[in-house]
C-alpha cells in the first residue's frame, strides 16, 4: 500500500436525474475519502446510488455539485475530452457483464486501452502478455470471448483493467454474473491486485460474501452514505 493519503476525495457530492418534469435526487451530500491501496466495497439496495457514485469517481458521469479530487486532480473541472484521456490513464474498469468486444480475441480486448497509449507494437505486446499472465490466461490469448467461460471472460476484463497500470480500479458488481467458484476466483484475483500491485479498488456489490473481501465496506441508502465505515481489517 502506498501510504495513508487519500487517493480519492469526495466533498459534498450531490447528484440528481431529471425524469420528465421530475427531479429525482440520487446522491445527497456525499463526502468520502479512499486511501491509496485500499479495497472499498460499496453496498446498498437497488437504486441507492452505488453505481452512480462509482461512475462519478471514475469520471464517466458528472456531479451536480461538490468536489471530486482523484490523485490530486479535480476531475469535475475537466472537459469531456480531458476526462476521456484521464480515464484512459488512471482508471481501470471491471463490469458485471465483462463488456468485452466479442469480435476481438482476448489479446486484442486487453490491448484496446493501449491503443491510446502511444506505446510501440512490441511494448503493447509485452504489456498485454503480462496482464494476461497476472490473470493466469496466458494460454488463451487467441480465444474469443464466446470461447471462454464467464469467469475467464471476467479475468480478461480484469487484465484489460490493469494493462495500463492505472492507480484506481472501479468494479461494478464484478461477481454478479458468475457462479460461486468463479466469483471466488475473481475476488481472490482482486485481492492480489491490491496486495501485490498496490491498486486501489472501489467495488459496488450486492453480495455480502464479495464485500467481505474488501478492507472497508460503506453502505449507501437513498443516496446517503452511512456514517461509520465498516472495516474488515
Amino acid at each position: 500500500m502506498n501510504g495513508k493519503r487519500p487517493i480519492v476525495e469526495l466533498r459534498n457530492i450531490c447528484k440528481s436525474y431529471q425524469r420528465g418534469s421530475q427531479n429525482i435526487p440520487v446522491l445527497n451530500d456525499i463526502t468520502l475519502d479512499i486511501k491509496g491501496g485500499e479495497f472499498l466495497a460499496l453496498m446498498g439496495p437497488s437504486g441507492s446510488g452505488k453505481s452512480t457514485l462509482l461512475n462519478l469517481i471514475a469520471g464517466i458521469d458528472k456531479a451536480d455539485s461538490g468536489v471530486i479530487n482523484v490523485a490530486g486532480i479535480d476531475i469535475a473541472a475537466l472537459s469531456e475530452t480531458e476526462l476521456a484521456g484521464w480515464r484512459a490513464a488512471n482508471v481501470g474498469f471491471i463490469f458485471q457483464f465483462y463488456n468485452l468486444i466479442p469480435v476481438l480475441t482476448a489479446f486484442e480486448n486487453v490491448e484496446l486501452p493501449l491503443l491510446l497509449s502511444g506505446l510501440s507494437k512490441k511494448e503493447k505486446k509485452e504489456h498485454v502478455e503480462t496482464a494476461l499472465g497476472v490473470v493466469n490466461l496466458s494460454d488463451r490469448l487467441e480465444h474469443y470471448p464466446g470461447e471462454l467461460s464467464g469467469g475467464q471472460q471476467q479475468r480478461v476484463a480484469i487484465a484489460r483493467a490493469i494493462v495500463t497500470d492505472p492507480a484506481i480500479i472501479v468494479a461494478d458488481e464484478p461477481t454478479g454474473d458468475l457462479d460461486r467458484v468463479s466469483a471466488e476466483e475473481i475476488l481472490e484475483l482482486m485481492e492480489r491486485l491490491v496486495h501485490e500491485l498496490g491498486k486501489t479498488i472501489i467495488m459496488v456489490t450486492h453480495d455480502p460474501r464479495a464485500a467481505q473481501k474488501a478492507h472497508i465496506i460503506r453502505h449507501l441508502d437513498k443516496g446517503v452514505l452511512n456514517a461509520d465505515p465498516q472495516a474488515n481489517i
Binding site: T52, N55, I60, A88, F97, N99, V103, L115, L116
Partner: protein, 385 residues
C-alpha cells in the same frame, strides 16, 4: 490496423443481414448503372458527332426533300470541304421487327466524312464499284449472319418495291462508340430506280452531310448555306451534326428525364435500406460504444468505426454492382441493339456508381454515429446485460 480489423469484423457480425444489404446495394448499383447506360445510349449519336460535320435539311421538316442541284452550290460556299448526301430509306428486312437504320448515300464522299467507319481495302473497293452493293456494320452483319457477296432484299416503305442488294463491305467502328448497326447503299441506285418508277421523286435528297475545313467556322458556314437558299422553294435548315442529333433527343426528353429520376430513386431507396442496417447495428452495439468511451476513446474513434463499417458495406455492394453492370449491359445491349446500337458502360457511370456508394455509406452512418457519440456513457452501459 486494429480499427480496420474491427470495422471488417463488425461488418460481418450479422452475416445474413450484411450479405442481404450488400446484395441490395449491388442490385441497386447494377440498376443505377444500367439506367445511366440507357441514358448514355440515348445520347450516343450526339456523342459520336463530329464538330466538323454539318447537316442540311429542308427547313419545313425532315420529311421534305431538297433538290439534288443544291450540292454544287453548297460545295462552292467558303469553308466547305466535302459535300455528301443521302436519303433515309426506311426499308424492312423480312419483317418489321428486324429494324435497323438504312440509308441511301453517296458512299465515296460519305465515307470520307465518316473515317470512323473502317473497311478492309478490298471490300471498300468492291462497295464503290458495285452500284447494287451495300455496306453493313459489323454487329448488323453478325446478327443476320451476312457474309460479303450475300444478296439481301429490303422491302421499301418510302420507296415501294422489293430492293435487291449485295453485301460488299462490312465496316468496323474505329472506337467502341461508333454505331455498327447501319446499312447504307448507293444513292445512285435509288435515284436511277426512282427515275424509272416515280420520276417526280427523282433527283431529290433527304439531307446533305457537309464537311467543313475548320470546326471554328462551322457557324459561319451554316449561316452561309441557309442564306444561299433563303426564299427558295426549298429553304434549308443547316446545323451541326451534334445539334441535328440533339433535335431527335429533345423529342424524347421526357423519357430521358424519367429514366434519370428513376435511377436516382433507386439510390435513395437503397440509402434507406442501408440506413436501416446501420441503425440496427449501431443500436445493438451502443453498449460497446459506451465501453470504448469508458476506456477513453473519443467520439472520433466511434465515428470512424460506424462510418467505416457503413462505407465498407456500401463500397463492397458498389464494387459487386459495378462489376456486374458490364456483363448485364452487354446482354441488355445485344438484346436491344436495334434500339440502342451503342450500349457501353461509360467511365462516367462507374464514377457515378462510386459517388453513389460514398453518399449511401455516409448518409446511412450519420444518425447512428450521432446517437453513439452523444449518448451518455452511463446510459450506454445500462443497455448491456
Amino acid at each position: 490496423m486494429q480499427i480496420l480489423k474491427l470495422i471488417f469484423k463488425n461488418a460481418f457480425r450479422h452475416r445474413l443481414r450484411t450479405f442481404l444489404t450488400i446484395a441490395g446495394i449491388s442490385i441497386a448499383i447494377l440498376a443505377f448503372g444500367l439506367l445511366r447506360t440507357v441514358v448514355d445510349a440515348w445520347y450516343a449519336g450526339v456523342e459520336a458527332s463530329a464538330a466538323n460535320r454539318l447537316v442540311s435539311r429542308n427547313a419545313i421538316s425532315l420529311i421534305f426533300p431538297l433538290p439534288f442541284s443544291y450540292k454544287e452550290k453548297i460545295r462552292q460556299i467558303e469553308g466547305v470541304s466535302i459535300v455528301s448526301y443521302g436519303n433515309w430509306f426506311g426499308g424492312i428486312y423480312i419483317d418489321e421487327k428486324n429494324f435497323f437504320p438504312n440509308f441511301a448515300v453517296e458512299p465515296k464522299s460519305y465515307l470520307e466524312l465518316y473515317p470512323e467507319y473502317v473497311f478492309q481495302p478490298d471490300q471498300l473497293a468492291a462497295l464503290l464499284r458495285d452500284r447494287k452493293g451495300f455496306a453493313a456494320g459489323r454487329k448488323l452483319a453478325e446478327k443476320y449472319n451476312w457474309k460479303p457477296g450475300d444478296a439481301v432484299i429490303l422491302k421499301g416503305t418510302i420507296f415501294p418495291g422489293e430492293w435487291e442488294f449485295v453485301l460488299r463491305g462490312i465496316y468496323k467502328g474505329r472506337t467502341k462508340s461508333v454505331d455498327e448497326t447501319q446499312f447504307f447503299f448507293h444513292w445512285n441506285y435509288l435515284n436511277e430506280t426512282v427515275k424509272k418508277t416515280n420520276p417526280g421523286r427523282a433527283d431529290q435528297v433527304g439531307f446533305y452531310m457537309i464537311g467543313v475545313k475548320n470546326p471554328n467556322i462551322a457557324s459561319n458556314v451554316t449561316a452561309a448555306i441557309d442564306k444561299t437558299f433563303k426564299n427558295s422553294l426549298a429553304e434549308t435548315l443547316t446545323e451541326t451534326e451534334k445539334a441535328f442529333q440533339m433535335s431527335f433527343i429533345s423529342m424524347s426528353e421526357a423519357i430521358v428525364i424519367a429514366i434519370q429520376l428513376v435511377s436516382f430513386v433507386v439510390v435513395i431507396i437503397i440509402m434507406a435500406v442501408m440506413a436501416n442496417t446501420m441503425a440496427m447495428s449501431s443500436r445493438e452495439r451502443i453498449g460497446e460504444y459506451a465501453v470504448f468511451k469508458t476506456l477513453g476513446f473519443g467520439g472520433m474513434y466511434i465515428a470512424v468505426l460506424i462510418f467505416g463499417e457503413s462505407l465498407f458495406i456500401s463500397a463492397t455492394g458498389c464494387i459487386i454492382g459495378a462489376i456486374l453492370t458490364f456483363p448485364a449491359a452487354k446482354a441488355f445491349g445485344n438484346e436491344m441493339s436495334q434500339f440502342f446500337p451503342i450500349f457501353i458502360v461509360s467511365g462516367n457511370t462507374i464514377y457515378l456508381d462510386a459517388a453513389a456508394s460514398v453518399v449511401i455509406g455516409i448518409t446511412a452512418a450519420i444518425i447512428p454515429t450521432y446517437r453513439a457519440v452523444t449518448i451518455r456513457i452511463a446510459d450506454g452501459l445500462r443497455r448491456i446485460g
